[in-house]
């Protein structure tokens, strides 16, 4: 045996089994509270509601699972206009939120200095310091028949205009579609502004300079650079506005009349007043399915996976 000068191959020292397993399990331990919460407060109620929606009976005699799918059809038939209104109001409110929120988010992200930026952001979320209900009740006062808003709009003859297109009726705002849309827009505006702001704020201002340097006028720069890069924020903002707005019932309840009722009002009525639990549960599921469908189509169109 001669001496050999080759270096010994590096030894792979295997981790003992126990610590490795423990390390792998860490991720699951971290997920546990979230999963537990989801199971108890989402999965279980979902299954329960699904079964309720297929039961028949009454509160007095008790409900029995009879796989009665016709409830879905009947509910949809009865509440089809509620669905139409829900999605129409939510869509208009979402568009309004985008129209109001985008310029604001843009200003905060690019035009405001650091101090003003924080002030404006606090103002954006300030309404959350008061309850949703109180804020919506305040709108009832703001839009009341004798109030300053209505009298101003009347003196400008704007209400004749909105009356003509069916947004308002009888020269009043309260208890009209306009009031409900206004309430929805107001209540969900921060959910639009915040994601828009975060996506705009990440944009390097040098990209604007580069676009200008490459012969893009300011508006072209916005159209070709700023807006496309902010699209993930637009998608997030519209979803965060549209989804809760289409399921909302407070605004329609407080600011609308029975003819502005949305699906949420229907579900509430069936659950709490009529006590027809199967119909209420079926309505909830129809609403969920429709929203999921629309969101899927929307995400496909917006092609978010293409964006950074």
């Amino acid at each position: 045996m001669t001496t050999h000068t080759e270096a010994a191959p590096p030894q792979v020292i295997p981790l003992p089994d126990a610590p490795r397993k423990r390390r792998k399990l860490t991720a699951y331990w971290l997920l546990l509270p979230g999963i537990a919460w989801l199971v108890v407060f989402f999965a279980v109620p979902m299954v329960y509601q699904a079964s309720t929606s297929l039961q028949t009976g009454s509160l007095e005699q008790g409900f029995k699972l009879t796989w009665h799918f016709a409830t879905y059809w009947d509910a949809l038939n009865e509440y089809k206009w509620h669905f139409v209104r829900s999605f129409a109001y939510a869509a208009v409110a979402t568009v309004l939120c985008l129209a109001i929120g985008y310029p604001l988010a843009y200003t905060i992200a690019f035009k405001a200095n650091r101090r003003w930026r924080n002030v404006i952001l606090i103002l954006v979320i300030a309404p959350f310091f008061t309850s949703f209900l109180i804020r919506t009740l305040a709108w009832k006062t703001i839009l009341s028949d004798g109030g300053p808003v209505v009298s101003t709009l009347n003196s400008l003859h704007l209400l004749s205009l909105t009356d003509a297109v069916g947004l308002t009726s009888g020269h009043r705002v309260l208890a009209t579609p306009l009031a409900v849309v206004c309430g929805l827009t107001y209540n969900f505006l921060p959910f639009m502004i915040l994601p828009l702001y975060t996506s705009l704020e990440r944009i390097d201002p040098r990209l604007h300079e580069a676009a200008g340097d490459l012969y893009a006028r300011p508006f072209t720069t916005f159209r070709k650079v700023t807006f496309p890069i902010s699209l993930p924020g637009v998608v997030a903002g519209t979803l965060l506005t549209f989804i809760p707005a289409s399921g909302d019932y407070i605004n329609a309840q407080l600011l609308g009349s029975p003819s502005e009722q949305m699906v949420g009002n229907g579900i509430q009525k069936q659950f709490l007043n009529v006590l027809d639990y199967p119909t209420a549960a079926a309505l909830s599921f129809i609403l969920m399915a429709l929203i999921l469908g629309m969101v899927t189509v929307y995400m496909r169109k917006a092609g978010t996976e293409e964006l950074v």
Binding site: A211, G212, D213, I229
Partner: protein
């Protein structure tokens, strides 16, 4: 492509800055300065950060409005024109590539904004020029730093600007890639003949690439000239220290002999040609570059007519091509010496008594009223 770019270049003209200055409130970023960048030249604005070089560049680009003065490009006064109407394009620091567009669309951006035809052909040719043809459909974040840098150059050059502005374009690259890109940019510039105005804080980069360098300090141009001219004849202590390394020895003018000034530096008699002394003052800093000095054992004979200083080696470090010595003279002054490693084992050990000598024509005299450590990066500001 190259021919088209050449046509654009010859159609352009000089960049002429007249009394251009920029102040932000109380702070003067750029003192009113006059600067002419001749057409077709590779011009570097060199200085430490905050010296006003980037502000000057941005005023040429139209991204910053000058407080005073005018910008004329190719005979056209563009001072009040917005960036998108100026015949210049910029390569931004950290490139500012559009993250949502692929490489092809990034490069095509300028052409599309001006409604140009055969975009496809031009972009493909340009991508070939910067050797990125196969990357056309990638997104910027899928490219390496060097590749992104070339995209930024291509995106600007494709518009055939009269002037290409480069704002520290190599700052984000590692040293090796930076050297490579310097040569690459120089090659492109020679090939297309467009005027390049290049902002950098790296003196080696400026000297490698530029025909003319303007050294800026504190919002003013300290000196302007060809790299060799600036290196051999620095006009201020800042330039002497910032561009390469200099030994500055405080000395007093004691008399004249023919074309030479006789000096006394702490008792040591030295000379400097009068033509190489930028001042009439009697107290000067005598400058000499470390590589101009010959180091020899104290016993060695020094040829006639050379400046000589004796001292002891305080420190020596071997860096491959050369050995760097720090020699402490008898009066306590530290003098750096670079000695080419031509002979083996020629190294002189620390502590050894040595004599330093150099040709007086390789030294320069600067007014001693300036801070001796300006531009070293260690100055007591």
């Amino acid at each position: 492509m190259t021919e088209q770019l050449r046509d654009a270049a010859t159609a352009g003209g000089d960049v002429r800055l007249t009394g251009i200055g920029k102040t932000y409130g109380d702070f003067t970023a750029v003192h009113p300065l006059d600067l002419t960048v001749p057409q077709g030249s590779f011009f570097a604005l060199l200085g430490a950060s905050g010296c006003g070089k980037t502000t000057t560049l941005r005023m040429i680009a139209g991204l910053e409005e000058p407080t005073t003065g005018t910008v004329v490009i190719g005979g056209q006064d563009v001072t009040v024109l917005p960036p998108y109407r100026r015949p210049v394009n910029t390569v931004f620091q950290s490139y500012a590539l559009f993250p949502h567009l692929d490489i092809f669309e990034n490069v095509a951006f300028g052409l599309r904004r001006r409604g140009k035809k055969d975009v496809k052909k031009q972009v493909e040719e340009m991508l070939d020029l910067v050797e990125l043809g196969p990357m056309a459909r990638r997104k910027p974040h899928q490219l390496s730093g060097g590749q992104q840098q070339r995209v930024a150059v291509a995106r600007a050059l494709i518009n055939h600007p009269q002037v290409l502005l480069l704002d520290e374009p190599l700052g984000a690259l590692d040293l090796k890639l930076r050297r490579q890109m310097q040569l690459e940019l120089k090659r492109i510039q020679t090939e297309v003949g467009i005027t390049f105005v290049h902002v950098t804080h790296d003196q080696e980069e400026a000297m490698t690439m530029a025909d003319t360098i303007a050294v800026m300090n504190g919002g003013r141009v300290e000196q302007l000239g060809a790299p060799a001219e600036l290196y051999e004849n620095p006009a201020t202590t800042f330039v002497a220290n910032f561009l390469g390394q200099s030994n500055l020895i405080p000395a007093e003018v004691t008399g004249r002999s023919g074309d030479d000034l006789l000096l006394s530096a702490a008792g040591v008699r030295l000379t400097v040609p009068r033509s190489r002394c930028a001042t009439e003052a009697t107290r000067i800093h005598l400058g000499v570059r470390p590589e101009k000095i010959t180091i020899a054992h104290a016993s060695a004979t020094v040829p006639e007519g050379r400046n000589r200083i004796s001292g002891t080696v305080a420190d020596s470090s071997f860096i491959g091509v050369s050995t760097q010595y720090v020699v402490r003279s008898e009066s306590g002054q530290e003098i750096a010496v670079f000695e080419q490693n031509m002979e083996r084992d020629g190294r002189i050990a620390p502590g050894a008594p040595v004599v330093l000598h150099w040709n007086p024509a390789h030294s320069f005299g600067l007014d001693a009223s300036q801070a001796i450590d300006a531009g070293t990066g260690e100055e007591t500001a």
